[in-house]
Each structure stands twice: as structure tokens, then as C-alpha cells.
């Protein structure tokens, strides 16, 4: 019999491996979307593709990596894998699971010729080719326009890079240096995972490693089931819509029925509308990943995630919906729809779980691809960034101002000083948007405005979802404000204000204003204590008119 303390120590050793992979990858990357946005994740899975431990920069990748490992097992089988192999996939309808920009790399780990685990990571590559720079666009009509597809293929065979594939990759992307740099950083992280697992095997032996893995998974399940018991049992329902696919499909209705029992959590999206023409389609793997986030968020947000935790979770949705799009549907802005899937679960459960959930937040990743140039070298440069916005108020708290959406996480906003050094723009303004919205006994957090002034020609493509209605309120609060992209031209063209802009040409002096929504309020604004209203007024967070009309503050003197 194994002594329980050795097992605990081994578990603690396993848990830090993903973290080390994560740091290795981030520090050696050449793309801001990796080292500033941290749009990547690293994990170790069992030899059966069960998640053992994961390190995340963003929430969206939680639990998504295991599907990629499963694909590798399905395609190659254990016998088709060798030490030193690294396999890549980005197919949205299969294990890749999001859009082509997110590339998963998977490395089987062998010990004494036995497959014992996988090191896996998934990262957003700034460029994977396709019709538009940055590989994300609003008007693609099939996946072939969105970039290179890696159908679960070996990039490295027995430790050696497959030159043909890498050459092919290099000529099909617009920024081969950073794309390949990121690929090597990802491979380096896989190798760190492999090395550490082998070291553990040397010290503890295979049998103990297997025992530790099953113990970690069982522990996860135990924690999830214990947390599940504390949730309110019953059936909950919500419906909403995906507002626009950018191709004139119009609104797509979506809905969810959540059933919570003592030992199961079922999210059933049956009744959701068909897949769209434009690139906002979400696929099944992304939907599953979205539900894993919601499940952990409402059960036990701070426990280390592993496959065991998700054992009580079931996700139901027919094929071919906007949540489960089929080939060759375009998916490059899939996150807009994935976030709506999460948000309807949030809406359904918010009223019964105030200790876990706030009112609605600005929801979208609000990401733009601003094509400009490097001010020093004149080379083309793509400013790709997600934007922070306002979060909803809670039962006992104001919403948070300027924070990344639920799909992001350990994501950093771009420093204006760094932006002006790297890109040929001037940042005129970066601060809270204080226009009316989100009022309540507890107020929604403020969205942000960032204004870029172009110093040379360029263009912009962006998708800011939830641009029609603002974040939803709770218990009589006011809704938040919508997200928007505004473009003001210096040559007299009519200004644009929209949730989606596609390849709008920009000239020197044009202004791009990225506006994110304020979160929803909680409770009747008239119940907000006047001391707090006065404080908001002094801080310039609200205007005198709102203080008087919405909050009922008596004019003094």
C-alpha cells in the first residue's frame, strides 16, 4: 500500500507542471496576444485524454484542450505515436474547437516505452492566413476563407520538425516570423511538460504516477459533487438571441433549460436556431468548454480544474445549430456566440445564485484588428486586442469598472505607451465611459472608451457583440450600455457607429473609438443611499441630471 503523504507530494508536483509550461510559453512568445493578452493555456492530460491539471490565461480554454488530445488518440492510436512527436490541430468542428486562429499542440509523453500522459497547449496565433489579415473577419462565408487548417497533423516527428509542413505554414501566413516563433514557443512548453513528467517517473515510478492521476480526478469529482449538493435543485430556463452575424441573417434565437439534481447538472440548448451564414458560428467543443466554465463558476470557482470535476455535467444540443455549427461554416468570431451560450445560463441561474452571479456584463471580447505600421520600420503591424468593459452589480456590491469579460481572464490591457511605440497611432483618451446606464441600488461597473488617432493610413475590422441592447439588469436596476465601434473620418466621410466593422479603410487623422458597455444595475436606483450617489457625483461617475432624475437626489441649496 502506498503511503498517503507520498501521494499528496506527488500530486503537488504534478500540479505545478502546467504552470511551468505556461510561463515558458508566455515568456518566449513573439506575439502580444500571447504575452500581453495571455490568450493561451497549457495542460497535462492522462494517457486517456483526461485533464489532470491546466494553467490558463483565459477562461475560454478551460477543459477545451482535452478534446484535442482525444482527436489525436482517435486518429493515430497509441501505436501511431512516438516519443518526440508534436501534433497540431485547429479544426473547429473537431478537437480544435474554436476558430482556426486557436492552434492546439499535443505531445505524447512516454516512459519506458509506455504512453503515460500528454502535454498539450492551445494558443491564439495572430496570423494563420486566410482572406483577411489577422485571420478573423466578419464576412467570411466558409472556413476556407479563414486560414490554414491543421487536421491533426504531426509538426514534429520523433523530435524533428517536419520541414515540409513548416515551409508550407511559413508561406501561407502574413507574419511568418511571429507565427513560427509562437509555434516554437508552444513546442518548447510541451517539451517542458514532457521533461518534468519523465523526472517524476524517475523518482516515483509509473505505478505511483497512475495512482496520483486517478486520485486527482476522483478528488475533483468529489469536490464538484459536494458543491453540486449546495445548489438549488430545479429546472431553470432562459432565452435570448445572437444579435447579428454580419451577413444579414438577422437575429438567431437561442435558449437553454438547466436541470439541477443532487448528482447531475444538465444544460439543454434544444430549440436554439440554425447555424448562420457569417463567422459567428460556435461549435460543439466550444459550447462544451463554455459550459465547463459556467459549471465551475457556479459550483466552486477556486478549485483546481480537472476532468473529474466535469463528470456530473451533461450538455445537450442538436447538430447544426448556431452553437453546434457543421463544416464548412465559418467560425472566426465564434466567441460572440459562445459567450451568449454562457450568458443565457447566467441569466437562468442569476436570480437563484446571487452569491455566485452578478447582473449581466458587457459580455463580448470586443476585439479589433487595426492594421497600421510600425512607426520606426514602416513594416505592416497588426494591433489585435480584446477590450475591457463594465461588469454587472451584485446583490451587495457595485459592478467592477473596466475589467475583461468572462471569456478572458488573466488578460492584460495594452499599455498606451507600448501601443504608441509599436503602432503608428496616438492614444487620445483611455478611461471610463460615464454616459447614463447601469443605475441601481448597486450600480453597474463602467465600460471604457479608448480613442486611437491614426498617424498613417490603415484599416480596421472589429466585432463588438451586444451592440444593440446593453447588459441585463437585476431586481429593478437599469440595463447597461451597448458596445460600439465608432470611426470618425478626417476627410468628411460620414462617421460610422456599429457593433461590427469590416476592413474600413483609414487615413491619417481618422479617429477610432472603441466603446465597451457599462454593466447592468442591481435593485431600484431610488434605494441607493444618497451618500453613495453624492460620492459618485463628486467622482464624476454620474452627471447631476442622473443623480436627480434616476437616483432621486434632491438638489441642494
Amino acid at each position: 500500500m502506498t503511503d498517503p503523504f507520498t501521494l499528496e507530494i506527488l500530486k503537488s508536483r504534478l500540479m505545478v507542471i502546467a504552470e511551468e509550461m505556461f510561463i515558458t510559453q508566455g515568456r518566449s512568445s513573439k506575439s502580444p496576444i500571447i504575452y500581453e493578452v495571455l490568450d493561451y493555456a497549457c495542460a497535462i492530460t492522462s494517457s486517456k485524454a483526461e485533464l489532470i491539471v491546466q494553467a490558463n490565461g483565459v477562461a475560454g480554454f478551460l477543459g477545451a484542450l482535452t478534446f484535442a488530445v482525444q482527436d489525436v488518440l482517435d486518429k493515430f492510436g497509441v501505436e501511431g505515436l512516438s516519443p518526440g512527436d508534436i501534433i497540431a490541430t485547429n479544426i473547429p468542428y473537431e478537437g480544435g474547437g474554436s476558430h482556426l486562429s486557436d492552434v492546439s499542440m499535443i505531445m505524447p509523453i512516454f516512459y519506458q516505452e509506455k504512453l503515460i500522459a500528454f502535454a498539450v497547449n492551445k494558443a491564439h496565433w495572430t496570423e494563420v492566413g486566410g482572406k483577411d489579415a489577422g485571420s478573423m473577419t466578419n464576412d467570411s462565408t466558409d472556413i476556407y476563407q479563414e486560414g490554414l487548417q491543421f487536421p491533426c497533423i504531426k509538426l514534429f516527428e520523433k523530435g524533428k520538425p517536419v520541414a515540409a509542413i513548416i515551409d508550407l505554414l511559413a508561406v501561407n501566413v502574413r507574419t511568418p516570423d511571429s507565427t513560427l516563433g509562437d509555434m516554437y514557443a508552444q513546442a518548447a512548453a510541451c517539451r517542458i511538460g514532457q521533461k518534468r513528467i519523465e523526472e517524476l517517473c524517475d523518482v516515483y515510478g509509473l505505478e505511483l504516477i497512475h495512482l496520483a492521476i486517478s486520485s486527482i480526478l476522483d478528488e475533483g469529482e468529489k469536490r464538484a459533487r459536494a458543491a453540486l449538493k449546495t445548489l438549488p435543485k430545479g429546472t431553470y430556463f432562459a432565452q435570448d438571441e445572437v444579435e447579428d452575424d454580419g451577413m444579414g441573417t438577422g437575429k438567431t434565437p437561442v435558449q437553454v433549460k438547466i436541470s439541477i439534481t443532487d448528482d447531475s447538472f444538465i444544460a439543454d440548448f434544444t430549440g436554439t436556431g440554425k447555424q448562420a451564414l457569417g463567422s459567428i458560428n460556435c461549435t460543439r467543443v466550444a459550447l462544451n468548454a463554455a459550459m465547463r466554465i459556467m459549471f465551475i463558476a457556479i459550483t466552486a470557482p477556486q478549485i483546481p480544474a480537472n476532468e473529474g470535476i466535469f463528470r456530473p455535467l451533461t450538455v445537450i444540443c442538436p447538430d447544426g445549430t448556431i452553437f453546434t455549427a457543421q463544416r464548412p461554416a465559418p467560425t472566426s468570431t465564434y466567441w460572440e456566440t459562445r459567450l451568449v451560450a454562457s450568458d443565457i445560463v447566467w441569466q437562468a441561474l442569476g436570480p437563484v445564485l446571487p452569491e455566485r452571479l452578478t447582473a449581466g456584463h458587457y459580455l463580448s471580447v470586443c476585439s479589433e484588428v487595426l492594421r497600421t505600421r510600425n512607426p520606426e520600420t514602416g513594416e505592416m503591424a497588426l494591433l489585435v486586442e480584446p477590450n475591457a468593459g463594465g461588469w454587472g452589480a451584485g446583490v451587495d456590491k457595485d459592478g467592477e469598472d473596466g475589467m475583461f469579460c468572462m471569456g478572458n481572464g488573466q488578460t492584460y490591457v495594452l499599455s498606451s505607451e507600448v501601443a504608441e511605440t509599436r503602432y503608428d497611432v496616438l492614444v487620445n483618451h483611455y478611461g471610463f465611459d460615464v454616459k447614463p446606464g447601469g443605475e441601481g441600488k448597486y450600480r453597474g461597473g463602467r465600460g471604457l472608451i479608448r480613442e486611437y488617432q491614426m498617424l498613417s493610413p490603415g484599416s480596421i475590422t472589429a466585432s463588438f457583440g451586444r451592440s444593440v441592447k446593453g447588459a441585463w439588469a437585476a431586481q429593478g436596476g437599469n440595463a447597461g450600455t451597448p458596445n460600439a465601434i465608432e470611426v470618425k473620418f478626417s476627410d468628411g466621410r460620414k462617421s460610422v457607429s456599429s457593433g461590427k466593422v469590416t476592413r474600413i479603410p483609414l487615413h491619417k487623422g481618422d479617429l477610432v473609438r472603441l466603446i465597451t458597455g457599462t454593466g447592468g444595475g442591481w435593485g431600484n436606483p431610488k434605494d441607493r443611499p444618497h451618500t453613495k450617489v453624492l460620492q459618485d457625483l463628486k467622482a464624476g461617475l454620474i452627471c447631476p441630471d442622473v443623480a436627480k432624475k434616476v437616483y432621486g437626489l434632491e438638489a441642494k441649496g
Binding site: F5, T6, I23, K30, R223, A388, E400, Y412, E420
Partner: protein, 679 residues
């Protein structure tokens, strides 16, 4: 006479060196919050020292970190570039607690109503686009006065490239408000990224009134006692500042306390020829580890307060010795979590109620209790016998864990010690393996109350061949401070191509920085003959963000490049063909001091020290009859074999089976763990 004082939550330590007689002594006194200066004066009185003979005084203080973590600083305002007042509150907008949909951001230290905007603008090259609007500053000055603001920070965009507007704004403020504490961000750091630099300036302002009055009071009290000159405060970078500079830039004191031990370990390494050292300082609530490579203490400007896995923390961009701290000290509590897993810390029993064995009402099993159950700690010799501890209470505290895992109480206690060791090993890996160093190339220097108990097993786990338990273990931090030197780091950001043209500009920048550094130290009153300069360049591959720090003693392009490729590969496992860039420039100026004479610690000669006792001690494998030695009985060089325990009033050293221990020529205990490789 040289004095060093280190103030802890419980005790104030004093170490003194009388150069005339060669006497090196230590004394302890209770800390006296909130008037900490009194505790210092008490130790001087207790040691019966002649204050008039003090020529060099070094002080480690927690006043800055306490003001920050308790949020008890001044009413502070921020003045920033028009359009950017919310940068301080947006911070970097990250949510480390990524699945928590009710996450709470840590609030800015300056609320929105006290964040003011001024019309002015520079571009990224530091060229003026819009001149500073003086009328804006005058208007704000009037508001600061009306609002009762005590301290103000000025942080403008791109001030790292050109501080002209910040300097002018600060000047105008001083004219309008002569008594106001004013900090310009570029005076503290010249690194880019507006949020981090602004926050650093704000926190300097926030602590300035309280820190400067603390320093002033201490200065007055010392002068009243007769100390005339040589007053220094320990800085986070491992050097010292004058009292005057400490009042202007108190943020440099944020880790004033903990760095003393690291500097002490380096000094000991210098004396005995160990250039590569990993330190392990195990105190009551935490264990701290740091790495010294080739005699150089590593520092970082990626320092945060209140940062943890679930909170982003507040960045402070000043050089801080690179220390990793984990919640595994003697008082850390072992517990079984909801899913049945054994965990240690971060909760600590602290000094009150303390570990269960203290009998002061604590009933939670701590690491100290585990060491007592295993009979590694001698209950009759705790703090040299000054404190009564009860092993039965420790056993009682461990009973629930033993029952839960269905093992004996001793096995449970050993499990906890092993898990604490594993946590410390993980921390050591963070400063070594994770940064590309192989622990086998280092010696482990362990100190603090618990360091010597755990060091040998940590070393074995990490394949470290040599462990050093220094003399004066209990007051080691203060001893380290005695050996520090005045030191200031200068850092600038300017991205330049990694070619000869770029290097020519780098040469100009470094020359300018050397002049700035020398002017700075001269102004602080130090003699130029003692100055030494150490330059570094942070380099990266074009397109990367993170940098690698390269020593730049020789500004030769080929040499810098090849060093960079090697260091990059060491840190990140690979190198690229890509071109490189220069990013940040660092100059560390040090004012050298006369070395501290440690000959007093020379142990006696002999070769026949006998154990003072035998007792049963629990190791892996069960109870073993174990020899117990008194440290002061051991003569120079006599080798004793493990398993054995070496006791001294302030700690115990555990030597495991298969290891050998002896006393070296300056009184350190050296353990050969038998697992190392030839170095």
C-alpha cells in the same frame, strides 16, 4: 562601531561590531509598536553600547510594507495626462480568479475624485506634442489644498523617455504648495508602461508622510543618544540608502526587512568561496528563498504587493531582491480540506496563540508541532530552555490527521514535515529550475528559526551536495544588514536595434547613466573613490516582449549577442536566428565598505567532541537512536555522521543518515548530503 537592527513583529534584533576590539555581538529586545524606534533604543541600551562611537548604522524596517498592506497611508492625489485619469483604476483589467463571476478588483489607492488631469503631451520618443498647461496645475494645486490632500504623485505619459513635464509640474506644485509631499514617477522609475509607473509613484506618495516622520523620529532619537553620522536604511535591492533619501523615496524600503538574510548569505559565500547559493529562510509564517549566482544577488522590478493566485496585486517598479515566499513556516497549520487532501498553510498560528505545544490555547497542528512529535525539537531546550513546550499537546493536535489517514501520530507528523519540505522544494524550483538553473550547481544556505531543521532533506531532494547553516542563525538578517553597502539602481527604457548603430547609442546612454549615478551618490555624501558601477542590458529577439538581462561590462556586439543567446536558451530552452534588440539599461552603483571581520566566530580546535545525549528521533523508517550534539561543543573540522541532531539555543540542525556534518573555519555548520556531484 557598526550597528545593524532588524525589526520583526515580535523581536527587534541588534548586531554590533566593535572594530577596535573586534567584538561582534548580538542582542534581542521586544518590539515596541507603534513606536518602533523605542525598541531600537532599548537594544542599544541593553547591549550597553556607546552610541557616540557608532560610525555606521543600518536599519531594516517594516514601516513601508505595513502602511501599504494595512492601507494606512496619506490622503493621496494623482496628477496625470489629460484623457488618462482612469488608468490607475483600470489597472491592467485582468482577473486572475478567472472562474469567479463575482470577482472584486482591488481598488486604486487614489479614488477617482482625487485623480486630476493636466493638458500636456509627449510622444513615445519624448518629444513635446502639447506643452504643459501651467494654469491647469495652478487650479489643481488650489483643489489639493481645499481637499486636504497630504501627498501627490505626478505621472505623465512617456515621462520615462523625457521627464521634462513631470519635473516642471512638480516644481510648480512646490511653488504653490511648499509643504506638500510631491513624487514624480520618473524620479522613481524610468521604465515604460503608464499603469505600473503611475502606481509606483502613487504608492511612494501614499507612504511618504508616515515613512518620513518615522525616519525623522528615529534620526532625532539616535542623535539624542549621541549617534552622529552614518545613518542608513536597508533597501529592497539589498543595498542601503541614507536617511535623507529614504524620506524622499520610501518606496525603496518596501522589502527592507527580508533582504538582510540574502545579503548575509552572499557575504558568507564570499568568505568561504561559495559563489552559487540558494538561500532558505524559514520563519514563523513563511519560507523565503532566493538565488545568488556567481556572487551576484538577483533583483527584479516585477514586484507586487497583495498579489496571489486570485488577485492581481499592485505593481511597484523598484528593484527588489528576487525572493519567492510561500506560506510554510514553523507556525503554518496542517489541515485536511473538503476533498480529503492534506494541505499546509497559508494559515499560521502566529505568535499568539502559537503552535499547540505552546499551551496558549492553540490546538491546530503546526509544522513546529510535527518537529516536536518527531522528537527532532528538544522540548527542554526550546529557545535555549527559555520557553516551556508540551509535546503531548502536539500529539493531541496531530491525532485527527492520523485518524483520518489511518496512520500513527508520528507518521502523520512526518507526513506533514515531508509535505512542508515538498512545498519548500517547489519554491526553490521557482527561483532555480524555472529560471534555467540546476540546483546541483548551488550550495543551500539555510537560516531563520526553522531553516536548519529542513535544509538537509530539501538539499537531498534537489540533489544539492552542500548545506551551510551559518553562524548567528537567529539574528542572521541583522548580521546581513551589517555587511550591506550603499547601492542604487538606475533603469531606463529605450528600444534600439541590436546592431552597431544601436550599440553606439547604448554606449551614450550608459555613459550618461554612470554620470547620473555618480552625481546621485556624491550628492548623498559618499566618497567617489569607493564607487563601483555594474551595467546590464535587457535584450530580446525582435517581436518578443519579455527580455533577458545580460551583463554589459564589455560593450562588444558579438559578445553581448552570444551571451544573450546563451541566457535565452538557459531560461526558455531554445534560441532563434532572429535579430535582437536592446530594451532596458541598468546601472547599479555601489559604494564599497570595509569588510566585516568575522574572526571572532573561529571555532576552537580539537577532534573529540562527544554527543551530549542520545534520544529516539523519528525518521522515514521509524524511530532511531540518534546522537545529539551541542553546536558550541563542536571543534573545527571534526566530522560527525548522520543521523544526528545539532542543537543550539535558537534552532536545531537535522543531519540525516548517510550525511556528514562539520564546523568550518568561520563557525558555519557544513553538511555534505552525499548526493551532490563534483562542482
Amino acid at each position: 562601531m557598526k550597528l545593524a537592527t532588524d525589526i520583526g513583529g515580535t523581536f527587534t534584533d541588534l548586531v554590533y561590531l566593535d572594530e577596535a576590539s573586534g567584538e561582534l555581538g548580538t542582542t534581542k529586545s521586544s518590539s515596541t509598536p507603534p513606536n518602533f524606534a523605542q525598541g531600537i533604543l532599548d537594544t542599544i541600551t541593553k547591549a550597553n553600547l556607546d552610541a557616540k562611537a557608532v560610525a555606521h548604522f543600518v536599519h531594516g524596517t517594516t514601516v513601508v510594507i505595513n502602511a501599504l498592506t494595512e492601507h494606512k497611508g496619506a490622503k493621496t492625489a494623482l496628477i496625470t495626462t489629460k484623457g488618462f485619469r482612469d488608468v490607475l483604476a483600470i489597472a491592467r483589467a485582468n482577473r486572475p480568479d478567472i472562474y469567479n463571476l463575482r470577482f472584486k478588483k482591488q481598488p486604486a489607492f487614489v479614488p477617482r475624485e482625487y485623480r486630476y488631469e493636466v493638458e500636456e503631451r509627449l510622444d513615445y520618443k519624448g518629444e513635446v506634442l502639447t506643452p504643459l498647461n501651467e494654469a491647469d496645475v495652478a487650479k489643481i494645486a488650489a483643489e489639493l489644498k481645499a481637499e486636504g490632500i497630504e501627498a501627490v504623485a505626478v505621472a505623465f505619459l512617456h515621462s520615462y523617455a523625457n521627464p521634462v513635464h513631470e519635473k516642471y509640474c512638480a516644481e510648480l506644485l512646490k511653488k504653490h504648495l511648499p509643504d506638500m509631499f510631491v513624487t514624480s514617477s520618473s524620479d522613481i522609475t524610468k521604465e515604460w508602461r503608464e499603469y505600473e509607473r503611475s502606481n509606483t509613484a502613487v504608492l511612494n506618495s501614499y507612504v511618504q508622510p508616515v515613512a518620513s516622520s518615522y525616519v525623522q523620529n528615529l534620526e532625532n532619537a539616535l542623535r539624542d543618544m549621541g549617534v552622529k553620522s552614518g545613518l542608513h536604511i536597508m533597501k529592497s535591492n539589498g543595498g542601503t540608502n541614507t536617511f535623507e533619501l529614504s524620506k524622499q523615496q520610501p518606496i525603496h524600503l518596501v522589502e527592507s526587512g527580508p533582504v538582510g538574510g540574502v545579503i548575509g548569505a552572499k557575504a558568507i559565500g564570499d568568505l568561504i568561496g561559495e559563489k552559487n547559493i540558494i538561500t532558505m529562510d524559514v520563519g514563523g509564517t513563511t519560507a523565503k528563498t532566493s538565488l545568488i549566482e556567481d556572487g551576484v544577488v538577483k533583483f527584479t522590478t516585477n514586484y507586487y504587493i497583495e498579489k496571489d493566485p486570485f488577485n492581481p496585486g499592485y505593481p511597484i517598479k523598484v528593484p527588489v531582491v528576487d525572493i519567492v515566499e510561500i506560506g510554510a513556516g514553523g507556525g503554518s497549520i496542517a489541515h485536511i480540506d473538503d476533498a480529503g487532501a492534506l494541505k499546509i498553510g497559508p494559515q499560521s498560528a502566529g505568535a499568539v496563540p502559537g503552535p499547540a505545544c505552546y499551551g496558549q490555547g492553540g490546538d491546530k497542528p503546526t509544522v513546529t508541532d510535527a518537529n516536536l512529535v518527531l522528537q527532532r525539537i528538544n522540548p527542554d531546550y526550546f529557545l535555549g530552555g527559555q520557553m516551556q513546550v508540551d509535546p503531548e499537546l502536539s500529539k493531541k493536535a496531530y491525532t485527527p490527521i492520523a485518524e483520518s489517514f489511518d496512520v500513527s501520530v508520528e507518521e502523520a507528523a512526518l507526513g506533514v514535515v515531508r509535505l512542508a519540505d515538498a512545498n519548500m522544494v517547489n519554491a526553490i524550483k521557482l527561483v532555480s529550475v524555472r529560471r534555467g538553473y540546476d540546483p546541483r550547481d548551488f550550495a543551500l544556505v539555510a537560516f531563520g528559526g526553522g531553516g536548519a531543521m529542513h535544509a538537509a532533506s530539501l538539499a537531498k531532494e534537489l540533489n544539492i551536495g552542500k548545506v551551510i547553516i551559518p553562524f548567528a542563525t537567529g539574528t542572521f538578517s541583522a548580521l546581513g544588514m551589517l555587511m550591506t553597502e550603499p547601492m542604487q539602481d538606475f533603469i531606463r527604457t529605450k528600444v534600439l536595434p541590436g546592431d552597431e548603430n544601436g550599440l553606439a547609442q547604448v554606449r551614450d546612454i550608459l555613459t550618461e547613466m554612470n554620470t547620473e549615478a555618480a552625481d546621485f551618490m556624491r550628492a548623498a555624501g559618499y566618497p567617489e573613490a569607493k564607487f563601483s558601477f555594474k551595467p546590464y542590458i535587457d535584450m530580446r529577439y525582435v517581436g518578443q516582449e519579455h527580455t533577458v538581462r545580460v551583463p554589459a561590462d564589455e560593450l562588444n556586439l558579438a559578445k553581448l549577442e552570444s551571451q544573450f543567446h546563451d541566457l535565452h536558451e538557459q531560461a526558455y530552452t531554445f534560441r532563434l536566428e532572429s535579430p535582437v534588440q536592446f530594451v532596458n539599461y541598468l546601472v547599479t552603483i555601489t559604494v564599497s565598505q570595509d569588510p566585516v571581520d568575522l574572526s571572532r566566530f573561529k571555532p576552537k580546535a580539537g577532534n573529540n567532541a562527544k554527543p551530549k545525549a542520545q534520544r529516539q528521533v523519528y525518521f522515514e523508517g521509524g524511530w532511531q537512536d540518534t546522537a545529539i550534539y551541542e553546536r558550541s561543543d563542536l571543534p573545527l573540522g571534526q566530522k560527525i555522521a548522520g543521523p544526528c541532531i545539532i542543537e543550539e539555543p535558537q534552532t536545531i540542525t537535522v543531519v540525516h543518515k548517510g550525511m556528514q556534518a562539520w564546523i568550518d573555519e568561520i563557525g558555519n555548520i557544513v553538511i555534505d548530503t552525499g548526493v551532490g556531484h563534483e562542482r
